[in-house]
Symmetry: C2
């Protein structure tokens, strides 16, 4: 595949990432993905023979890598500081997007994880990778597994509530609880 | 409205509740809602002049009341016991539904809370009511507001992760963390 093909592929993935994050699997129709991407209509099945499901799976994979990198980038030796920084980074992103961009995996996961095996696999892999990235910082604690899973649940839950309420308050409350807890 | 009309209205709401919980706002098309409900096609706009959005708002309102009642029904004087019972009840429901039925508000909230004001209002009201129901049990603690918001975030996050992973493990880990934390 040449540079042009790579570019088209990248545009399709980018459009899919934005649309599934904002409106979920069913809100992101293939026609809208194509329009938003600016890619030629015929290019979808050339780059993604599996069609929309392959495109969504790749979008989740890339978003998963980005968030894992974000978790690493804000990590310090202080778990509470790291969690606060992560919640702030998510809050900035959420507010700047008009409450549209929270967790890039959650909307798709709720829409189809129960019924679509290939997409469920990608969603579960993303969450497991983030949990691992959080767990590394807790090594040595006997409750590291439970705590990493619970930190991720708190961040995901706070992002959901912040979107639903259009407010950063849930993120701020959770940051204070994590600080008191750890 | 007679008993027949009440019955039709109830069937439409029930079908909407199931479909939006499982597949979100965009996955629950009006045609599918009508088919699933068994209600006559023409009855939708008779009972819900605002169409799908009015139907979804009512579905969220009723689901909100049910979960608030669930929170009250499992509550004891021991906050950790209550939280564990709530997570267990959600886990039973989630597993019995083949990982389809988690939080009845979350999928719609992620799909459209940023762009649909009337539905956002219902989603936010449901979450605020649940937070209040949790907060009552924490009265007297100086951190009651933060803790109630954080408990709700943990439950919501754990439900999301359990659906994504098709596993009760996140619910169990969060229950242990809440017990250690409180």
């Amino acid at each position: 595949m040449g540079a042009k093909g790579d570019e088209t592929r990248g545009k399709l993935i980018e459009a899919t990432r934005t649309l599934v994050e904002e409106q979920g699997y069913f809100g992101a129709g293939l026609n809208r993905i194509i329009e938003t991407s600016g890619a030629p209509r015929g290019s979808v099945y050339f780059h993604f023979p599996g069609g929309k499901d392959e495109l969504v799976a790749e979008a989740i994979r890339q978003s998963g890598r980005d968030i894992a990198a974000l978790i690493d980038s804000v990590a310090t030796d202080d778990t509470a500081d790291s969690a606060t920084a992560l919640l702030n980074a998510f809050g900035d992103r959420l507010e700047a997007s008009g409450w549209r961009s929270g967790c890039p995996v959650a909307t798709v996961a709720l829409d189809v994880a129960a019924v679509n095996d290939s997409i469920q696999t990608e969603c579960a892999a993303a969450y497991t990778a983030w949990e691992q990235a959080l767990r590394i910082r807790l090594a040595g604690r006997p409750d590291a597994d439970d705590l990493a899973a619970s930190l991720l649940a708190m961040v995901e839950g706070a992002l959901l509530l912040a979107r639903a309420k259009r407010s950063r308050e849930p993120l701020e409350r959770v940051a204070r609880t994590i600080r008191a807890m750890i």
